[in-house]
């Protein structure tokens, strides 16, 4: 029984791990081996970085990575700032304007605007084909505001009171007391935002018509999901590595940032943020 359970779980893990291994392996394989194994390699006999070299010498991928990094960095910074301020402003029940503002935040959780009105708003504001169209609508997640607010409210009132008696204002209380105590929850929320911006696909599809402005996800859709061939115009190199290797390499490039931040998410939130959120 025990062995069967262990076997089942191992199988589930394999379903996740094996595809990753295969993608990385294929991206590093030679043309001969890819052809021999029918397009997908699990264990490369010889490792070559030709696909990555070709992708990074020029063409669509470096530009797309630059765009994605820009959107992710600017978006996450804006999101963290506004979310923190909003959650802090709502962390003391009974303060001026507390109730209506809270209602607006919770209302945003419940009522999501449709695709069409969202599109019309962005185009009316003249944001089409601007990176801000991808960033601004995603800046505040009401869900994150609610989580962060709950966390701020659990900071002992005595701490805040004693600081106030020592003459600290709201701003100083935020920067000297509240923020240092909230590093863990802020890093998790920041990572949630960052992953969201990095993964943004539909907003980019909807708002960025100019192919020169495409982030990684749109490049991935065009050349991997839709199987458009990568030619010499799309990669910098003179001689083309096999399409399969190029496609897998683009996939790897889009996954690596997620894998890099994953250990941090993992460390903090299984016990902290998430469980707190479930308890409400």
């Amino acid at each position: 029984m025990k062995a069967l359970k262990a076997l089942l779980l191992t199988l589930c893990c394999a379903l996740v791990v094996v595809p990753f291994v295969g993608i990385v392996a294929t991206s590093l394989s030679t043309r001969e081996q890819i052809v021999r194994e029918g397009g997908f390699v699990i264990i490369p006999d010889q490792i070559t970085f030709a696909a990555y070299e070709a992708l990074f010498t020029g063409g669509v991928v470096p530009r797309a990575v630059g765009v994605s990094v820009f959107i992710t960095a600017v978006g996450t910074a804006l999101s963290l700032t506004t979310t923190t301020l909003l959650a802090y402003g709502l962390s003391r029940p009974g303060s001026l304007g507390h109730r209506p503002v809270l209602t607006l935040v919770v209302g945003a959780l419940l009522f999501t605007p449709g695709i069409i009105p969202g599109y019309l708003t962005v185009s009316t504001l003249g944001l089409l084909d601007s990176y801000w169209a991808v960033i601004l609508p995603a800046v505040v997640s009401a869900f994150n505001v609610v989580i962060l607010r709950a966390f701020f409210m659990e900071i002992p009132a005595e701490l805040v009171e004693s600081a106030r008696i020592d003459g600290a204002g709201d701003w100083q209380i935020l920067t000297r007391i509240v923020l240092p105590l909230s590093k863990a929850v802020l890093s998790v929320i920041g990572l949630f935002y960052a992953v969201g911006y990095w993964n943004a696909f539909f907003t980019a599809l909807l708002y960025l018509n100019d192919a020169a402005k495409w982030p990684v996800q749109l490049v991935l859709r065009t050349y991997v999901v839709n199987q458009q061939q990568l030619g010499v115009d799309q990669v910098g190199a003179g001689s083309l590595p096999p399409q399969e290797a190029l496609q897998m390499a683009i996939l790897v490039i889009s996954i690596v940032p997620i894998l890099l931040v994953y250990p941090f998410v993992q460390r903090h939130f299984t016990k902290g943020v998430l469980v707190g959120a479930v308890k409400g």
């Binding site: 295969g22 800046v139 505040v140």
Partner: protein, 294 residues
């Protein structure tokens, strides 16, 4: 002073959340982009007729949405609970951590990545079919096959989200008082009885909570996911309400009708959440939120 801190965030919510909500008025207009919301002619409930007139494209979209929704609610609740129970019964903490870490990784990948991975693995030239072909076996036509599209989509959701949902159930399992198990085994309860009388009731609040949340999105079945694969399988098998709104509105320019469909879909979601929450209260569950005591 505190109110001042909320201004930037509130400005974003008002501009990109509440302003579009108002923009839903175009559902009652014969909207023309060059005339704008202010000058487009009003046409009452005309746009909503598509909902009741038996328009074949709308009926297809609604039908597909409902089928996929049922498939997903079926597996997305049972498999993660089974996984959590399985994992919880394995003793060593270290193994638990490793398995968890692996299983919820796909949650953080975008749909573009997930669809790419599925295409590469299960497609005609992927390792599965290459293997079958080499051994002279019949190949599976999975990617781009309209007949199995809804199952494929459900499988993708399972791969991406099962591990993530599992964590919530694991957290709930860890809060069940171990003394309950000890006491019941002293009373002679077997594993099956413990599962039924202790474990599942312990999970009830989380199950109810997740069900309410899912109901709010009941009519939202994998918009990005399906849009990415629509080209390959065709509209008949893959059109759902969200893609209908996108295709008819943004792509074909039938703004009023698609806004009407989107509006009704959104309202149904809100009604379902509020209704389910009320029902949960009636059964003595905390649900998603409670009226604060002030």
């Amino acid at each position: 002073m505190l109110l001042l801190a909320t201004v930037p965030g509130l400005a974003v919510l008002l501009t990109f959340h509440y302003l579009p909500l108002l923009g839903n008025v175009i559902a009652f207009q014969d909207f023309q982009p060059y005339l704008g919301i202010l000058h487009s002619p009003w046409n009452g409930w005309t746009n909503f007729e598509v909902l009741t007139s038996g328009d074949p494209q709308f009926v297809t979209a609604l039908g597909n949405t409902l089928v996929i929704m049922l498939l997903q609610i079926g597996v997305v609740f049972t498999v993660p609970i089974a996984l959590a129970l399985l994992l919880d019964s394995l003793v060593t903490e270290r193994w638990k951590r490793i398995v968890q870490t692996v299983l919820y990784l796909p949650h953080f990948l975008s749909w573009v990545i997930v669809v790419s991975i599925f295409n590469e693995l299960l497609g005609g030239s992927g390792p599965l079919n290459t293997f079958l072909r080499r051994h002279d076996l019949a190949t599976f036509d999975i990617v781009g096959n309209a007949a199995v599209f809804q199952e494929l989509v459900t499988g993708q959701v399972l791969w991406k989200e099962a591990g993530w949902a599992m964590i919530l159930f694991l957290a709930a399992l860890s809060r069940i008082d171990p003394e309950l198990y000890e006491a019941s085994s002293v009373d002679g309860a077997g594993k099956a009885r413990q599962l039924w009388h202790i474990t599942l009731p312990g999970l009830r609040s989380v199950i109810v909570l997740l069900l309410i949340l899912r109901l709010g999105d009941a009519l939202t079945v994998g918009f990005e996911q399906i849009l990415l694969q629509q080209q390959a399988v065709g509209v008949d098998a893959s059109e759902v309400l969200d893609t209908y709104v996108y295709n008819h509105g943004v792509v074909m320019g039938d703004w009023g009708v698609s806004a009407a469909v989107g509006l009704v879909k959104g309202l149904v979601g809100v009604v379902l959440v509020l209704g389910a929450n009320k029902l949960a209260h009636a059964f003595g569950e905390p649900g998603l939120y409670q009226r604060s005591p002030r």
